[in-house]
């Protein structure tokens, strides 16, 4: 196995593109090293992206927020400005694993691992996040909901690597939140999860995005749930209709973590509760 630690994204993309065998990107390694240990992955080349300065940056500017692909969960959580601007995105990422895992894991790694239950993904999609994808020849920007195509599958082409995630600029009267249900308090995989991001104007919800996790092969953006609360002050009827839209968007599996019926019901409950937290964070009152 070759180990390379390039210092530019283009170099990383070129190395990945040129490898004829199995080539893997190494950020935090909290998924990759487990796959290697279990014999599910036997890379011929590992490209460690942690030495690329653009991948280590957190940039908050007037035009939006940019988070490098190698930024760990701990660094996100320690960044007060980011936590204030996007509390839902940060709390979702900080739910991944233990403190030990937080020290290494990344949002982009969570995204590219493409688990239907990935915690940071519904929060990113609700936030309207975009991925900056770099290939050996060109760069492109892709909405996060268009990265994962199925469990363990992404739309990235050979040689492509995500350099960073961008979060849009939004008004001061905005808030986001992420909730997941697990049967214990820590260290578990989401049975159902929900991310909500909204902006208020004169106390009324002006824009909203609602995204569910672990209820379908990929995270699901639910425009009907957003429609249910836009133009409202999040009254009881709006929340009920948001919950119904969330449940209607579910296409889950039955497994040891939860049944189809259970996941469908809980998706509505979490969507509603996350919307209430986001509303409060945006400064809304009923």
């Amino acid at each position: 196995m070759r180990y390379e630690a390039p210092t530019t994204t283009k170099e990383a993309a070129t190395l990945l593109a040129k490898e004829n065998g199995e080539a893997c990107v190494l950020a935090g390694g909290t998924d990759l090293l487990v796959r290697m240990k279990m014999g599910l992955s036997e890379p011929d080349l590992i490209v460690d992206i942690k030495h690329i300065p653009a991948m280590q940056e957190i940039k908050i500017s007037a035009s939006g927020t940019k988070i490098g692909a190698a930024v760990s969960g701990t660094r996100l959580g320690d960044n007060k400005a980011l936590k204030k601007a996007w509390p839902g995105v940060v709390e979702a990422t900080n739910l991944i694993g233990s403190d030990q895992v937080q020290g290494r894991c990344t949002m982009v790694g969570n995204l590219c691992n493409a688990s239907p239950a990935a915690d940071s993904v519904p929060a990113m999609i609700a936030a309207g996040a975009k991925a900056v994808v770099v290939g050996p020849k060109k760069r492109r920007t892709v909405t996060v909901e268009n990265i994962v195509t199925g469990p363990g599958q992404t739309s990235l082409e050979k040689g492509e690597v995500i350099e960073s995630i961008t979060l849009p600029k939004r008004s001061g009267k905005s808030g986001d939140a992420y909730l997941r249900f697990i049967p214990r308090t820590e260290m578990d995989i989401a049975v159902v999860s929900a991310g909500v991001n909204l902006t208020l104007e004169k106390g009324v919800v002006k824009t909203a995005r609602v995204c569910l996790g672990a209820v379908a092969p990929t995270a699901v953006l639910v425009p009907d749930a957003a429609k249910a609360i836009i133009g409202t002050k999040l009254d009881k009827a709006a929340l009920e209709s948001l919950a119904a839209a969330c449940s209607a968007a579910c296409n889950p599996i039955d497994d040891k973590r939860g049944t189809v019926e259970y996941r469908t019901k809980v998706a509505g409950v979490l969507g509603r509760r996350a919307a209430e937290i986001a509303f409060k964070r945006a400064g809304g009152s009923k």
Binding site: G29, V34, R104
Partner: protein, 160 residues
């Protein structure tokens, strides 16, 4: 020996080792550096027995490649005590009998030290959350939590 040369600082000392590219830092530390305080429990980042600090950050060494440690500062349980005396955490783990078989103990000590370095006076809840990545199948955790609370108190007294 074939492999990649890795330059590190371990517990304050310059350490150089050579390892294959697919070797975990856990194996490098145990088999090449001779620090067997780092334990392998699960090998998949679930149990925390292999906890170390890498450039001050608490991590599972089973989820780090040896080659990734080049240029890094590593802290292991062997670095906790000074030549004269045990670290207050170690003292209090003994006083509270916060261990039985002992396999998880080095990981708990390293993780608890990482917590106390950041937070001098953690609540019981904060301690339990901070140690959620460390599994113990003997103690039932309560004695460990008490030991960490007592050590935190000792460390606060020492500072005064």
């Amino acid at each position: 020996m074939t492999g990649v040369l890795v330059d590190t600082t371990v517990n304050g000392d310059a350490v150089q080792f050579a390892c294959p590219t697919d070797e975990t830092l856990l194996d490098s530390l145990r088999d090449r550096v001779g620090l067997t305080g780092v334990k392998e429990g699960c090998g998949t980042g679930d149990c925390g027995a292999c906890s170390i600090t890498l450039d001050g950050q608490l991590v599972c060494s089973c989820l780090v490649l040896g080659v990734e440690a080049n240029g890094s500062e590593i802290g292991t349980v062997e670095g906790l005590a000074d030549s004269e005396s045990l670290h207050p955490l170690q003292e209090q783990f003994i006083n509270h009998a916060a261990l039985q078989c002992g396999i998880c103990t080095p990981g708990f000590l390293v993780a608890a030290k990482a917590l106390l370095d950041k937070n001098k006076d953690p609540s019981e809840e904060q301690i339990r959350y901070a140690l959620a990545g460390n599994l113990c199948r003997c103690t039932g955790y309560d004695k460990i939590v008490r030991a960490v609370q007592a050590a935190a108190k000792d460390l606060r007294k020492k500072k005064k």
